[in-house]
């Protein structure tokens, strides 16, 4: 269902813009700022993949791909500026690469009819395609992740009465799985300890020391 929707959305956008010579893929990357350490590899990889498609296959379906990069620095205001400057370029799909910017852009992109792909981050409830028609968060989201982790622990060991500590980034990026874990802790009867780490999170010693060592 989801795949079909994506294809439909992509198809619709492609059909709408045949005058464009290139397929425009905007890349909202964060190569600077406190989180650049994981922003640079992603931005490079995204760029490399489209270069590969251009060089090896001559683009997608014979159409060359044009990647337009915009630096957000993981900052919401810059993200808005990037979106506004790139949306007029015939952009096909946006990857905001920040949960804050994702929340910011979901209403705007829905109004503008541009699809968004937030893979593994962003707004989990956007999985409901009835409400969020152009927002896609496959292959996984925060709730999937939390549930998969708990399931795995249950496969390995008995979880009842034990404690799971969630050390999370104290922002929208880190808070989303909390609800799921709270529900699961009630269902499977384990304790949940929530330990927030504030931006930018370079110093985490005190947080980790709050987790008592496991008794052998």
């Amino acid at each position: 269902m989801k795949l079909k929707l994506t294809t439909l959305a992509l198809g619709a956008v492609m059909a709408a813009g045949p005058v464009m010579a290139d397929l425009v893929f905007p890349a909202l990357s964060y190569r600077t700022g406190p989180y650049a350490a994981n922003g640079i590899p992603f931005a490079d990889g995204y760029q490399d993949y489209f270069t590969l498609l251009n060089e090896r296959d001559g683009g997608i379906g014979g159409e060359k791909i044009k990647l337009m990069e915009c630096e957000t620095g993981y900052n919401t205001e810059k993200g808005v500026e990037c979106y506004e400057s790139l949306k007029g370029e015939g952009s096909l799909v946006f990857q905001p690469l920040s949960t804050g910017i994702t929340y910011q852009l979901i209403p705007k992109m829905t109004a503008d009819g541009i699809p968004m792909h937030s893979m593994g981050y962003g707004r989990t409830s956007a999985k409901n395609g009835e409400v969020f028609r152009g927002i896609f968060n496959y292959p996984a989201n925060y709730w999937d992740g939390a549930s998969a982790a708990v399931n795995h622990i249950m496969d390995v060991d008995d979880i009842k009465g034990k404690t799971i500590a969630l050390v999370y980034h104290n922002s929208a990026y880190g808070k989303e799985p909390i609800r799921t874990l709270e529900e699961l802790s009630k269902k499977h009867d384990f304790n949940l300890t929530l330990i927030p780490v504030d931006h930018p999170g370079q110093e985490q010693k005190s947080q980790w020391l709050q987790i008592p060592p496991r008794k052998a």
Binding site: S29, R31, T32, A36, I40, E69, C70, E71, G73, N75, T76, E77, V80, E81, E84, S85, K87, G88, T99, G100, Y103, Q104, P107, K108, T110, A111, D112, R123, T124, S125, N170, S171, A172, K175, E176, I178, R179, P196, D198, H199
Partner: protein
């Protein structure tokens, strides 16, 4: 030649004490207002509104607010980000609790709530000064951000801890949300900026402004000649926080639509607004505008130049931006410590004699 007092006779006290005593200035002022209200709404588009003009208008309100506190009353504050957060969260709670009330009222009420919080955190200023007060307001900054992150009631128990502005209209036209037209959001912020600037300008020319400046220049002397420091300092905190709260409310509801307190209202924001005030000119309303325009416009201008025109990699441009903005701040502080407003004043002095300097 055009810019001079000569021949412009003032026959009443009202004329004598007007804001713009020179005719050329007055005409220019009305032309700018007419252009902003009657021309810009027809030509503005989404990009200009969201990338440049809305942030400029909103930061200008915040800079005016901070300028009243730092520039006119001499009370150094690093809590601007926290106070903007109070405005934003107050506006959010009001918007979600009373959906039928006009946004004008919500924004003003958000400012009023921030003013109360500002007075509360301004109380220590009666005992401590200078750097120590800066540290006390820094505590306000961190406390407020922590509070809005910690207590779920403020963000209506949303899963991500973010606040998102629901769609609201004013006079039947959408003003918040993605479908709000650019000209409406622009006009809304422009009205607030114009009214705030007028209030600030007239307050600072009146008795309260004079008592603030007396406190700034020498508080003991001011106390001896009869200025009540309690009243002067707390009114400065109240008025300043009121403006900062309005800007925070607009920043959240009109400009961004969704904010996360730790990211949007961090200590960075306090510094940004303080830099606007310092670069623009301490103790000048025009300086607040100039500083906001400079610090909002410069990064965008550099980005357009570096990425769109020269085609450099985005990260290089972003780093160069930091270097250039930092360098310019230092250059300004060395070459013109009184900010852009002083440059403007010098230009006006020169204009008076132009083209025949003696």
């Amino acid at each position: 030649m055009f810019y001079r007092e000569a021949g412009d006779f003032k026959t009443t006290y009202t004329q004598d004490s007007q804001t713009f005593p020179i005719k050329f200035d007055r005409i220019r002022y009305y032309l700018v207002l007419a252009f902003a209200f009657l021309v810009v709404p027809f030509i503005i588009n989404d990009y200009w509104a969201n990338a440049l003009i809305l942030p400029f208008l909103i930061y200008a309100i915040a800079a005016i607010g901070l300028n009243i506190l730092v520039g006119y009353c001499g009370q150094l504050s690093l809590g601007t980000g926290g106070f903007m957060a109070v405005g934003a969260y107050a506006c959010y709670k009001l918007m979600t609790s009373f959906p039928d009330v006009s946004m004008f009222i919500h924004v003003i009420l958000a400012g009023a709530i921030t003013a109360v919080v500002g007075i509360l955190f301004g109380l220590p200023s009666l005992r401590i000064k200078g750097f120590y007060l800066a540290v006390a307001t820094l505590a306000a900054q961190f406390f407020l951000v922590w509070l809005f992150n910690r207590v779920p009631w403020f963000y209506n128990y949303s899963a991500s801890g973010q606040i998102s502005a629901p769609e609201r209209d004013t006079f039947g036209i959408l003003i918040t949300g993605p479908n709000a037209p650019a000209w409406m959001t622009y006009l809304f912020c422009l009205i607030f900026l114009t009214v705030c600037a007028l209030i600030a300008r007239n307050l600072t020319r009146g008795s309260s402004g004079r008592s603030w400046m007396a406190i700034r220049d020498m508080d003991i002397a001011a106390e001896i000649i009869g200025v009540n420091p309690l009243k002067a300092k707390l009114t400065a905190f109240a008025v300043s926080s009121f403006f900062v709260g309005i800007s925070g409310a607009l920043f959240f509801s009109i400009y961004l639509g969704a904010v996360e307190v730790g990211e949007a209202f961090s200590i960075q924001k306090s510094f940004l607004v303080l830099f606007m005030v310092i670069i623009g000119g301490l103790g000048s309303i025009f300086g607040s505008f100039a500083g906001a325009a400079f610090l909002v416009g410069l990064p965008v201008a550099l980005k357009v130049l570096g990425v769109d025109i020269l085609g450099w990699p985005t990260d290089i441009v972003s780093h160069i931006q930091l270097i250039i903005v930092g360098g310019l701040i230092i250059m300004f502080l060395i070459l013109e410590p009184h900010g852009l407003a002083q440059l403007w004043n010098l230009t006006k002095e020169k204009l008076r004699l132009w083209p025949f300097p003696h």
